[in-house]
Amino acid sequence: MRITQGTFSFLPDFTDQQIHEQVQYCIDNGWAVSIEYTDDPHPRNTYWEMWGHPMFDNPDAAAVVFELNECRKVYGSYYIRIIAFDSSPGWESIRLSFIVNRPSKEPGFRLNRTETKGRNIQYSMSPYSSDNPQGSRYK
């Protein structure tokens, strides 16, 4: 399966040139761009690991693409995403978030059902890969 979190997961994977375009759009809007990676793609895993701080005063998307490729050298088998933060009053949150790197094999999620009273079912889901400890989930 293909995890489709993020703004552009239904499009073919972006080239570095396409990533550059989208990042420059964020920078031109005054947003701080950040790189994050994880090997736990659960949709409610909010806090992916940060590859450094958001690049607050960086005017050039090339610097982000450079850092992304540095991150890929270490975490090339992980999910990596680009996130843009907008500090404007009334927003102060993320404006854009898209996946730029993913494992070659994505085994997907197990859906666990716990039948309780009546016909009620309590659901939980977990990535198949999280059966392995952190750091050894994707090859």
Binding site: L11, W91, E92, S93, S97, F98, R110, Y123
Partner: protein, 485 residues
């Protein structure tokens, strides 16, 4: 000012009998509205022979302290303060029989945090008033002091996006069709296919409650099975608006609690449940981390005609105060009423921190929302993937685009329909961010995206050229003109 409009001294004012409203103190052309006044703008159509100023004063009177005759008990009160004051009457640009009347209301006339109380005054009595042929509430200015007495949207656009882990693009939804008759099991099938295919939300329709063909618990149980299956299939947070509308408040709370117990991220109500019930559900939603979707069922009965009723921009303001997170607000290009400028006015009211006067969009007042959460507008009704460039252009990013027929009617099935919409949307947002003139190049951008997405190609072929091009009944009175300086 003609003599007939002058204020009377106290003796003449309070002699028993019938007096024109404008002489009773409800017309004050020199009045400067205070920062804390609630202001209402009415479009009035006086009966033949009725002076527009008197008609405006009558509206001010009947929506505040007046009755049809002089009463001495006024003098036991600070009646000058409590009288609403019509302070400006303008002819409308396009109809010699209609006038815009501006009326200011003292803040103490209203109970804090109660839409029911506000509306009981402003639209409570006056709309059936005989000296008027027709009356329409066009816009209102709520003072910050009053705005701050309301909870506002339970969740708001920003937190909704954080909860859904979805940024940078409009959300996608679909209403399950046929809207009546599916069993719970079959209904959940539509939900599963649509969410798995790429939508963020599916939706109960306004009249799906608990009927013989599908009782509410069945629907909730099958829908949540579908939501969770789709979430596991995509790795995304998914939701379905479970309509908890019911005959009593107790029953609505019961249904909402069950939705919460099942892990739904969102519940839904209809506008017809009434303002107090909406505020109660908004409070419940805030207390229970639930997104609250409002279907504006019934609004067309009083919002659509330009001469009489309540403009939807006023309903939008009331609903932002009342505290809903989603509200249907028009599509511009779809099958339901919606002039582009008027619709822009609605969207601005729901989403902006501060609205400036924009007569060309029907917005008559500056409105400070005082950090109240923003409402996510929902565009639903007769839209399809081929219109994606227009939808993104007119409606922006913070909106739910709902393709009901445009998902379920896809020739290759529901999942393919959902995928077509998602790919079209992502391609359009990508092109916009990359700096392309996406409105002009929209069809090209879609055709390019369709090269790697067969479902999109099929959708574009099937719905090619489907438009709903009718004159709007609710267009703005004012059009921008080029200034000569």
């Amino acid at each position: 000012m003609p003599d007939g409009n002058k204020k009377l001294d106290a003796k003449a004012r309070y002699s028993a009998g019938v007096l024109e409203y404008k002489k009773m103190g409800y017309w004050e052309p020199d009045y400067q509205p205070k920062e804390t006044d609630v202001i209402a703008l009415f479009r009035i159509t006086p009966q033949e022979g009725v002076d527009p100023v008197e008609a405006a004063a009558a509206v001010a009177g009947e929506s505040s302290t007046a009755t049809w005759t002089v009463v001495w008990t006024d003098r036991l009160t600070a009646c000058e303060k409590y009288r609403a004051k019509a302070y400006r009457v303008d002819p409308t640009p396009n109809n010699p029989n209609e006038y815009f009347a501006y009326i200011a209301y003292e803040l103490d006339l209203f109970e804090p945090g109660s839409i029911a109380n506000l509306t009981a005054s402003i639209i409570g009595n006056v709309f059936g008033f005989k000296p008027l042929k027709a009356l329409r509430l066009e816009d209102m200015r709520m003072p910050v002091a009053y705005v701050k007495t309301f909870q506002g949207p339970a969740t708001g656009i920003v937190v909704e996006r954080e909860r859904l882990n979805c940024y940078g693009r409009p959300l996608l939804g679909a209403t399950v069709k046929p809207k009546l008759g599916l069993s719970g099991r079959n209904y959940g099938r539509v939900v599963y296919e649509a969410l798995k295919g790429g939508l963020d939300f599916t939706k109960d329709d306004e009249n799906i409650n608990s009927q013989p063909f599908m009782h509410w618990r069945d629907r909730f149980l099958y829908c949540m099975e579908a939501v969770n299956r789709a979430s596991a299939a995509t790795g995304e947070v998914k939701g379905t608006y479970l309509n908890v509308t019911a005959g009593t408040m107790e029953e609505m709370y019961k249904r909402a609690e069950f939705a919460k117990e099942l892990g739904s991220v969102i519940v839904m109500i209809d506008l017809v449940i009434g303002y107090t019930a909406i505020q109660s559900m908004a409070k419940w939603a805030r207390d229970n981390d639930m997104i609250l979707h409002l279907h504006r069922a019934g609004h067309g009965t009083y919002t659509r005609q330009k001469s009489h009723g309540v403009s939807f921009r006023v309903i939008a303001k009331w609903m932002r105060l009342a505290g809903v997170d989603h509200i249907h607000a028009g599509t511009v290009v779809g099958k339901l009423e919606g002039d582009p400028s008027t619709t822009k006015g609605f969207y601005d009211i729901l989403r902006e921190e501060y609205n400036e006067v924009a007569l060309e969009n029907g917005v008559f007042f500056d409105q400070d929302w005082a950090s109240l959460n923003k409402v996510m507008p929902v565009a639903s009704g007769g839209i399809h993937a081929g219109q994606m460039h227009q939808l993104v252009h007119y409606l922006g990013e913070d909106v739910v685009l709902q393709f009901g027929g445009g998902t379920i009617g896809h020739p290759q099935g529901i999942e393919a329909g959902a995928t077509a919409n998602r790919v079209a949307l992502e391609a359009m947002v990508y092109a916009r961010n990359a700096g392309r003139d996406y409105l002009a190049e929209g069809p090209t951008i879609l055709a390019e995206a369709a090269r790697t997405c067969t479902p999109l190609k099929q959708a574009l072929d099937v719905w090619k050229g489907v438009t709903f091009d009718y004159a709007s009944t609710d267009a703005p009175d004012f059009v921008p003109t080029t200034s000569v300086s």
